[in-house]
Amino acid sequence: MTARNRELGGVLVAGVIAGTALASVTIARESEISASAVSYGAVFLALYLAAHIVVRRTAPYADGALLPLTAVLTAFGLALNYRLDPDDGGRQALWVLIGLGVFAAALVALRHDYRVLESYRYLFGIAAVFLLLLPSVPGLGERVNGVRLWIDIGPLRFQPGELAKICLILFLAGYLREKREVLAQGRVKDFGPLLAIWGAAMLVIVQTNDLGSALLNFGIFLAMLYVATGKALFVAAGLALFVGGAALLYNAIDRVHERVTIWLEPWTDERVFCALNGKLELRQNCASYQLVKSLYSIGNGGFGGTGLGEGTFTSTDGTQLIPALGTDFIYSAIAQELGLIGAAALLLCYMVFVARGMRIALRAQDGFSKLLAAGLTFGFALQTFVIVGGVLRLVPLTGITLPFVSYGGTSIVANFLLLAGLLLVSNKANSPP
């Protein structure tokens, strides 16, 4: 069986999963199967079949597992967002449509040779810095939860950090391919780029107050630097610099300080000062209440979960118990409604995605392609780790999205671009000479 036929089979299975999940959410909501639920499933399947046909035409030798995995992940996201808020679910569906459109466009545009991107590497580098700093431009940036990650253009809210990540990976793939031999010598002056990018990451923390995106982008940089040079020393030095820098900023920036305090000590036995209402409160009722509620949500799921549509997210009078449920805390919603089984299944999808992505990097022929695939895949894994780890109190909680699952347009589009990149590299590597 060829990769494309495997992909077709996978997409069909994903369609069935999506249809079942949406139907089950509708049943819980309306107590009956409505025609709309079935048609949602059919539309979902049709969209991915269309994407499959585009892949068949433009990248026939590409890996066959990634598109079905993406379909399953977006199905998770759509079902959960629809369950939490039908309006958000509808918008999310629109974003998946746009994302698939961008995906198809990228495949068509770069079907002959994506490696032309390498020649625009510095443009991508500049774009990455520009996009990262965009939210801190006065008048444009929007503070959500005290973190500047969003910009508003008209009615659209846009999270440029997601696209910055892709641009950064493209820049690094090109730059490191060019400089890897020089850097691998490990002379003192070769630490220059490391220091420059470290400085940029710290600047991002200062500007946006967000530890998460800085950690993500700096982590991607270190990983790609390691792949390019094979020098573990760079990684060690980079990590030390990051931790040291973050520790300094921890004391200097209240927002960062607060996030870390919440992470280390979400529950207090004594009342501490609460910045939200200016009174003394237990921390679990004030600063850390999001994180704590998220853990309660996860704990309430137990092994088998409450079932889709049966979880508890609102109080008896309808007030929301966990804020930002569709974006930051979508994983706690999944863990409650689908339980350990469902959450583990979701994480398994991410693991297989990562394993396939790294396999593409291994099989790629040239340095740029290898670095690109490894960078994209590692970025995908690290982003999943940072957001889910934050929700699980493994690392400080930050406001980045769960790839393909969280509600949010920019994130969906950026991750479809990431998928297109991996498929293009894979297609090239597997093409007969």
């Binding site: 792949v227 679990q284 693991m351």
Partner: protein, 490 residues
């Protein structure tokens, strides 16, 4: 570069793999701990979709807590109603969305919501969930005598205090009343009304279960323990005689009897307990030393939380307290044993503990585990838990217990506790007046047991405590004890 990519693959997979581990941790290991947290709004609200088990009194069998069903966004939610209002508020407690839970509603939440893991209920629960039917909880039958409970609260009236009555043969708690009480129906939506409740003490603290969590100076009721310790030590006999000068000197200071005007002269231990002579117990205390008396107190359950089914933090251990902490002296001279022997010197006790003491004396020294729950019944009538009487330990020898019982009977027959006499029953009791030095602010006590006759073990034990009193325990608390005992025994 492939070597690096392979290593990076391991790192990436480990990053996601560790998330699986952490999710497992929160959903299995830590899940019970998270569910138990008081601020867990998710679990609290989720529990409202369960058709919560009812709570019954023992006699007459009435519903102390029932449910009203309300549809919220197509989901059935079950809200609690308490038909008897403030009558059993402290034992049953409340279950609300806003203020969490107290009492049995909190400690038995797993049973009431059927989230206790027994194979049969697990299957039923899974079936209910599968059919989309609300899960049915298990019913709790308490041991409370509702009529006597009503008498106790009425007798307490606007006074601050508590009454605990239990069957000393089985440990079953018949009355647990704390005054002022509150209406648990008001907790959810009208809490301000509860915080406005006033009584003869400041703060009124209506939510506090004074019966098991209120700590009071035991006053002369502690002499029961001192007398038991004295007899157990074999240094004293009931007929050991003492000369009462009307006071006792400890650390060079005079400790007076309650009434210093007429010293008793030469008295024996039996008479000393009957008339509550401080100087005698003061001297016994000095002879025995603090630790020996405290060890006897421990045999009666002091220094541990009485094992009732209510939440842990609604039960306080009795004993010496120092800076709000339970304190056990390292050596005898750390504590003024003379004053402790008649219930002063930082000794603080709960009414529940003193009812246990009176009960153990009444049944020949057997200290039974107090129980407020009789049984727990599943939706199909299956009995999931039947509380069997459990012996904590033999507190003191039968001989000692019977001797102290005789002294207590004399106290009711002709001593300080005559107000508690009950026709047809043999009552033994001990009064107590914990002086605070402020007029009208005494803590008064009466503890007692009652049986058909002196030969048979007592059927009932009781402890009554009142705050801010100007009279003595015999005049204020003993009549209440009598009324409640009559209500239970009739």
């Amino acid at each position: 570069m492939n070597g690096q990519i392979v290593r990076l693959t391991y790192v990436s997979l480990a990053l996601v793999g560790v998330l699986v581990v952490m999710t497992t941790y929160w959903q299995t290991w830590a899940a019970a701990g998270l569910a138990d947290r008081q601020d867990n709004a998710i679990k609290r609200v989720a529990d409202f979709s369960v058709d919560r088990g009812l709570v019954f009194s023992w006699k007459p069998r009435k519903r102390l807590a029932r449910n009203t069903e309300r549809k919220v966004e197509r989901k059935s939610l079950f809200f609690r109603r308490y038909p008897y209002g403030s009558l059993a508020a402290h034992v049953v407690g409340y279950s609300t969305v806003e203020r969490s839970r107290t009492g049995l509603e909190r400690s038995l939440n797993d049973y009431l919501t059927a989230s206790n893991a027994s194979l049969s209920t697990l299957v039923d629960k899974a079936l209910d969930e599968f059919r989309g039917k609300p899960v049915e909880g298990n019913d709790v039958v308490t041991t409370l005598d509702l009529d006597a409970q009503e008498v106790a609260l009425a007798e307490l009236g606007a006074q601050c205090g508590a009454v605990v009555a239990l069957d000393p043969r089985t440990g079953k708690v018949r009355v647990m009343a704390s005054s002022p009480s509150f209406d648990p129906n008001l907790v959810e939506n009208n809490f301000a009304q509860i915080s406005r409740i006033e009584a003869d003490c400041q703060p009124a603290a209506p939510l506090l279960n004074r019966a098991s969590a209120g700590l009071y100076v035991p006053g002369s009721t502690f002499k029961v323990i001192t007398a038991a310790a004295a007899l157990e030590s074999r240094k004293f006999k009931p007929e050991s005689s003492f000369v009462d000068p009307g006071y006792c000197t400890v650390y060079g200071k005079r400790v007076n009897n309650f009434d210093t005007s007429s010293p008793f002269g030469t008295v024996d231990l039996e008479t000393a307990l009957t008339y509550s002579v401080n100087s005698v117990f003061c001297n016994i205390g000095k002879t025995l030393g603090a630790k020996r008396i405290l060890d006897t107190a421990k045999r009666f359950g002091f220094y541990e939380r009485p094992p009732l089914e209510t939440p842990t933090d609604e039960r306080a251990p009795s004993g010496l307290y120092q800076r709000r902490q339970l304190y056990y002296p390292k050596q005898d001279p750390d504590v003024d044993a003379g004053r402790m022997a008649f219930g002063q010197e930082r000794m603080l006790v709960t009414p529940l503990q003193m009812a246990m003491v009176a009960g153990a004396i009444g049944v020949g020294g057997e200290l039974m585990e107090p129980q407020a729950v009789d049984k727990i019944v599943g939706p199909g009538g299956l009995i999931l838990l039947r509380q069997r009487p459990a012996l904590i330990r033999q507190s003191v020898s039968k001989k000692t217990a019977d001797a102290v019982a005789t002294m207590m009977r004399l106290a009711v027959e002709r001593g300080t506790g005559t107000a508690a006499q009950l026709s047809g029953y043999s009552v033994g009791g001990k009064t107590g007046t914990g002086e605070t030095g402020v007029p009208g602010a005494n803590t008064t006590w009466f503890i007692a047991f009652a049986g058909r006759d002196e030969e048979r073990p007592a059927e009932l034990a009781i402890a009554v405590v009142l705050q801010n009193q100007s009279g003595t325990g015999g005049a204020t608390a003993a009549p209440i004890a009598r009324a409640v005992m009559q209500a239970i025994l009739s």
